[in-house]
Symmetry: C2
Subunit: 341 residues, 2 copies
Amino acid sequence: MTTIKDIAKIARVSIGTVSNYFNNPDLLSKETYEKIRIVIDDFNFHPHSAARSLKSQHTRKIGIIPVVSPQDNFGALPSDNVFLEFLAAANAASAERGYGILMEAVVDDHLQVEKYKKLIGEKQVDGFLLLGTHVRDERIMYLLDEKFPFISFGRTEIGQPYPYVDVDGAKGIEDAVAYLAGLGHRRIGFIKPPDGLMCSKIRLEGFMNAMEKFNCVIDPNAIVEGDFSEESGKISLEKIIDSGCLITALFTPNDLAALGVMRAMSERSIKPGKDISIIGFDDLKLSAFWNPSLTTISQPIRHIGLLAVNALIDILEERDEFPQIIVEPRLVIRESTAIVA
Amino acid sequence: MTTIKDIAKIARVSIGTVSNYFNNPDLLSKETYEKIRIVIDDFNFHPHSAARSLKSQHTRKIGIIPVVSPQDNFGALPSDNVFLEFLAAANAASAERGYGILMEAVVDDHLQVEKYKKLIGEKQVDGFLLLGTHVRDERIMYLLDEKFPFISFGRTEIGQPYPYVDVDGAKGIEDAVAYLAGLGHRRIGFIKPPDGLMCSKIRLEGFMNAMEKFNCVIDPNAIVEGDFSEESGKISLEKIIDSGCLITALFTPNDLAALGVMRAMSERSIKPGKDISIIGFDDLKLSAFWNPSLTTISQPIRHIGLLAVNALIDILEERDEFPQIIVEPRLVIRESTAIVA
DNA sequence: CTGATAAATTGAAACGTTTCAATTATTATA
DNA sequence: TATAATAATTGAAACGTTTCAATTTATCAG
């Protein structure tokens, strides 16, 4: 195995100089640099990452700990495609800056904090990327306690400042309510994401505020808790209808649930987009292709992934304090919403 | 920072014994083991992973190198959701066996092999997981050359034996042709996945064989090349229709493309599932919910992810030679196929 | 109780880097 | 030309483990 030592010997410099080649190239004279470059190219040499990490105490790796079960899908995450898009962007951005992403799944929600402890203790990563924050997020409280670098996609209600990127869900809902109100809707239903999730709280607040502002009717029966699945959309719709509550429009936790809602409507001969307007959240690629195509609150998820990773690496490298970034969602109007009948 | 040394001192044993606690626990006497356990629990100690890797020359990490662009989606991968499902399963399975997954994206196809070289040179991972194999896959040829452990999801046409898990795409198509033939279809179209991909070749062969077997009409105009996108489905359909070729059924590279085909049909007043039967590939969760719901060849993708990771770790740990696993796809019959009009 | 054997434990030498104080070479200044 | 200041380079020590030959302790047969 070739090491920095071999390179040094062949290039007729000291190992410290070869080390500087990688870590402080501007300390080297042009000639020395070139001399070393040739040898390294020649051997296709790459420095041993574990040795580097051992000495330098950083890994140039970012950790992500998803909750996975072999049957189900990624667990506490906003929703599948959103996660994939986020991951794609995060991966691209981190690769760009010379970082890798270490994923180590946890099969049970409760083991999550343990896993963070483990990865920190083993010094496997320099920082973490968190998704799907809770109102009081244990992981964030733990990482804050440990002063371990991280950034979350999503806020929480923890008092201390901490780094996050989030989408302004309240604003998204407010814009949508304004739009619906403009179409004449007053009786608007709302399927909340699961309780405990921060996005759920934020969006609900936005909903309540906007409803009041536009003189809409807030019917408690029209506000039900669901989750991000297609199935849940169906169940939630049934719950609202069966309560005898009459609505002309409905918010869903995400596009997938919106699809479930639309299917359930068809089964009951309610025409989605005509009898009841539907608004999703996320803007999956597919949502434009459904029938009716889905009006939805679009999260710029790739942009969020990019921002998150870059902000995290800034923290890691330049000790930028607490980046707190809010991005605007965008209401994408399609066929699933219409003027009130 | 606590080290094995501190633990050793406090537990009044040698550092070698503490090391054995982690690596050869059965060498220790029950009492010694317990003594150490208590100290370790007390300190919440985790051994430094870089130090372990440096000495032991393995990392307990599995590499995945996706092709990502900040705009587009994961590139050379079968299709988005398939990748996510695979990743979820792979993550769960590897976590189970004490491995993490290191993802380091590459922004350009051509840089792929370079990235493999880098990760190998830096000793970042013990093995690789490859997806989306090509007929002559450069990555596989390189890894084989280097004798570096890997397993691929997908076969190639390289002469040497190497480890893979694959779905029997030919069988899947054959079953589907048999099914269509049973419904009276004879003029069946086929949208190929991109040329160069191994799955493309395998499926086309299956198609040709089955068509012959069932006395179907092979019209060259009915066989076009597409890709895994919705857009491509649309274009491919138009190409076939515009060629004047009359078909009663059509295979698509995946469910997404099938959706595009169905949309394009609607635009031309062709009724998907009635005028032309459509068969997808993958069986996305959503496919059951489209209108018409999609008949498709289902890949047991989570199972494949599990098998792949376990086979790879077997190679790494027990030097199991060349696992070569083929799993059967399953034809899922829904509304997008019907008796020929 | 002895000697032989097996089981448990020890500790020093690596693994391949980074770091940094010390040294040497180069350049600028008077 | 001598001196000071700066730029380049050096190499030994450390990072926290694993490994393994050597040593100690325990067990067993006779």
